[in-house]
Symmetry: C2
Subunit: 210 residues, 2 copies
DNA sequence: CAATAACTGGAAGAAAAATTCAACTTGGAA
DNA sequence: TTCCAAGTTGAATTTTTCTTCCAGTTATTG
């Protein structure tokens, strides 16, 4: 981010990488709410080291997930170039969910209510217009029913993600079934009434919790 | 539950009712994780009173929600008597979600991963065969695709509930749209492959979290 | 091989929630 | 009316998690 900072001492940089790898692995299986103490213990360092390098949890999350989030943005851009709009939408949602399946932490970040990061918000700003374009095209070609909105697509994402979180350990493939249900639902539901506000997408991904 | 216990003193019974009402209201808007201190403060009692009456949080949850859960079981029984199996299923799911919409706490209890209570487990045991019967009938009449299982219905419940939790404050009607998507999805998705295990229903509702 | 600035570990402090308890109050039986 | 078992209170204690801090270590520079 800030190329201006002086480079880290070699041992410090080594520790930083070690901490990032350790934290990523822990969060991949246990979610974002891993304590700094757990990270330090798993990496074999002191807690002070974690705090020195990542004073705010946000700093850690940014360092951990920014490249993964860029990957998802690229997926959206790639999807937007599909000739077949519906194929682009399904491809994008499935790819994104596959990534989330590999890392519970990333899934929580991309979907879950509490951890509103600038990172994720920016990603949504980038992706929403692309998705909106695909949806508009799909509606025009009759692949999606009239009235379908980006919020419905976001809802589908949240829906499948919820099943994924709930069945991660016991039925790690169940989310694919839920995805089939959600996609078929988007195509066949009556979505003509009371279109949800654009703003709702942000809220779906990031309800202020209470 | 235990009719053997001596009845409470009048003032104690009054406090008990007050605490239950207060706790229910707090949990309806803030979810199950309300602290005993908050409950005591809102009810105007000391914390000790809450602990004396409900030594385990489970005791409180049982007292608060058992009748509501019985209501949901009755819904399932009523749905099972529908001639039109699909109509029964949609009616049941919508009623259940409407109840959850009124109380975030009850929704978390009926769906969420952590609070596995005997209460809820028993309810699922009662309801699953009824839902299974409806689904089998609906498949027979072609209202649902071959391969549809109770786990798919449970997944639909979890999916819509997830949207409800995420949009409760910002878009309190969004879950109805998600419900339309989920229901249309159940009817139109290809559910023929890899049928999920029966057991998965329990896990969907109650993943051991990690 | 100093000198020193950066780095490290983990104990100590702070904050928030859960739980206990001893002194005090009160309903209701006798 | 008296008495005491039941009930109440809220401060104190325990538990858990987060955060700070400093005495001691190590890489790097001249």
């Amino acid at each position: 981010m800030a190329a201006s900072d002086p480079p880290l001492r070699r041992d410090a940089e080594r520790n930083r990488q070690l901490l990032l790898r350790t934290a990523y692995d822990l969060m991949a299986s246990a979610g974002l709410d891993v304590s700094y103490e757990d990270i330090a213990r798993a990496a074999g360092t002191g807690m002070g080291t974690v705090y020195r390098r990542f004073p705010q949890r946000q700093d850690l999350l940014d360092a951990l997930f920014s490249e993964h989030i860029d990957t998802v943005i690229e997926l959206a851009e790639q999807a937007a170039r599909y000739d077949d709009a519906w194929a682009g939408l399904t491809w994008f949602l499935e790819r994104q969910l596959e990534i989330e399946a590999k890392s519970r932490g990333l899934g929580e970040l991309l979907r879950s209510r509490n951890q509103a990061t600038a990172l994720v918000r920016r990603a949504h700003e980038r992706m929403t217009p692309l998705v909106a374009g695909l949806i508009a095209r799909a509606v025009r070609t009759g692949q999606l029913p009239a009235g379908a909105t980006p919020a419905d697509f976001a809802a589908a994402h949240v829906m499948v993600g919820g099943v994924m979180d709930a069945s991660r350990t016991s039925a790690p493939q169940m989310w694919r079934r839920a995805l089939r249900i959600a996609l078929a639902g988007l195509r066949h539901a009556d979505l003509s009434g009371d279109p949800p506000d654009e703003v709702i997408i942000d809220h779906l991904y990031n309800d202020p919790k209470n």
